[in-house]
């Protein structure tokens, strides 16, 4: 063995010493041997070498990996640099320490309920109506943006619960989830409606501002400079309006009404709006 430059591992020596009990080998062999073992070797090749005279033919073993087997886990025939390094043993899954989930983990937001994941039909049915366009018209862009994200995450939550209910076969609740989803989608539609309206209004305002001498669209200097005088052509009309305004002032004692009738762009005061004839 040694003459061939091979190493004999504990396994091979135990095999050769216990040659009588060959049949008991599989039972005595450990289930998981470290990979430091090397191949068991045969000395027959060396012993069979007959021609020892000088100039005899080459009788060496040309197969470098003879006796190595991955199935029998023999290891390499040659000692490797890391042969003496102890290898880590795998730990069974049930003996590993339990992984703790962070209570502030972002993925909890996908769950309607932390214990059951899916919301019960009762929980799902506890929802109100969707936001109407009229209500959303009074909201700022930031508010609408926030509400959109709330809706988007709610839809993810509903989709997660639907999947979990179906796959884990929890029971009923699809109809309630669908009803909730419908309301969320209605809200999202209303948000889009509101923003589209706002865009159209803005486009109209830009068109008006192009011809408005008080508005500067160049982006240099103040955008709006209100004038405290009237053009010559406008004076006559203004005088007429002033007379009307005075009459209105004496009748109702209000100050906002003439201003409202002056400029069509400004929003009329709520009082005059209320008095306007209903169509």
């Amino acid at each position: 063995m040694g003459a061939l430059g091979r190493i004999s591992a504990a396994y091979t020596t135990s095999c050769s010493s216990a040659s009588a009990s060959v049949s008991s080998l599989p039972t005595t062999a450990p289930v998981l041997r470290p990979l430091t073992h090397t191949a068991s070797l045969s000395t027959s090749a060396a012993l069979l070498k007959r021609h020892k005279y000088p100039g005899a033919r080459d009788n060496k073993d040309h197969s470098k990996h003879r006796g190595e087997s991955a199935i029998r886990r023999t290891g390499t025939r040659w000692r490797l640099s890391m042969s003496d390094e102890p290898l880590p043993r795998p730990v069974p899954r049930d003996r590993l320490p339990a992984v703790e989930t962070d209570p502030d983990h972002g993925l909890w937001d996908f769950f309607a309920d932390r214990a059951t994941v899916a919301a019960t039909p009762e929980q799902d049915a506890q929802h109100g109506r969707s936001w109407s366009v009229e209500e959303l018209r009074h909201k700022s862009w930031d508010d609408l943006h926030r509400l959109w994200w709330v809706c988007a995450k709610e839809r993810n939550r509903i989709a997660t619960s639907n999947w979990e209910r179906n796959k884990s076969k929890l029971g009923f609740g699809e109809a309630e989830a669908l009803g909730r989803d419908r309301e969320v989608r209605a809200t999202m539609r209303a948000i889009k409606h509101t923003l589209t309206e706002r865009l159209y209004t803005w486009e109209d305002a830009v068109k008006l501002a192009e011809n408005d001498p008080e508005v500067d669209l160049t982006g240099q200097g103040p955008a709006f400079v209100p004038r405290d005088y009237l053009e010559e052509g406008e004076t006559a009309a203004a005088e007429g309006e002033q007379q009307v305004a005075e009459a209105a002032e004496t009748a109702q004692n209000t100050q906002a009404a003439p201003a409202a009738s002056l400029d069509p762009v400004t929003i009329p005061s709520p009082k005059s709006q209320a008095e306007a004839p209903r169509l």
């Binding site: 992984v99 989930t101 993925l107 019960t120 039909p121 029971g171």
Partner: protein, 196 residues
């Protein structure tokens, strides 16, 4: 040695600014569902069902911005359903829409809670649900193979048949039978020799 270098590289990489997409989407109209992991799936992998047009970068940025969840890598695949017929076993053949799934490797692991036991599913009306599902399956089987008529031993006997059998047995044993009704005395025997 190698592990120390790797750890140092990792530490430096953590401090670098995150590379995220620059395309701003103000009203994302996507629905992303978080899916229960397979039984032996490690807790650092999270599975999602995403829209078909999503790519890996989309999911990474979506999770980071909307849920504040950091992800080291994303794997994706598409499940193509088998062709189906429009009305179960009749109608035109078609292929249902494919479904895209993505598995994200999380920085912070997330362990799913176990599904509730069957007795804890009262809120979902689980007993009725299972009964109905079983019935529907039987109906489906009957429709798919109408020639397969089940034997009497395979079918649960209905209650009326059981009670009828019991009554018949009693009658055979006692030899007399009564329906439990008492006559009101208005019944008269029709004369046998009356002309009809």
């Amino acid at each position: 040695m190698a592990t120390r270098v790797a750890a140092a590289t990792e530490a430096v990489a953590q401090q670098l600014p995150r590379r995220l997409g620059k395309n701003q989407i103000f009203r994302p109209n996507h629905v992303v569902a978080f899916i229960r992991p397979k039984p032996r799936q490690p807790p650092n992998l999270a599975t999602f069902v995403v829209p078909l047009q999503f790519n890996k970068f989309d999911l990474r940025d979506y999770l980071f911005h909307a849920y504040n969840v950091e992800v080291t890598s994303v794997r994706s695949f598409i499940n193509q359903p088998t062709p189906r017929r429009k009305y179960g076993n009749a109608g035109k053949w078609f292929r249902p829409r494919s479904q895209k799934m993505m598995i994200a490797e999380l920085v912070k692991p997330f362990v799913w809670p176990d599904p509730p036991a069957e007795k804890d599913r009262e809120d979902f009306d689980h007993p009725t649900f299972t009964k109905l599902e079983k019935l529907r399956e039987q109906q489906m089987e009957q429709q798919m193979d109408p020639g397969n008529i089940r034997l009497r031993t395979q079918v649960k006997a209905p209650e009326d048949r059981k009670s009828l059998k019991k009554q018949a047995k009693e009658f055979m044993e006692s030899g007399e039978w009564s329906n439990g009704q008492i006559g009101d005395g208005k019944w008269t025997e029709v004369e046998k020799d009356a002309p009809v």
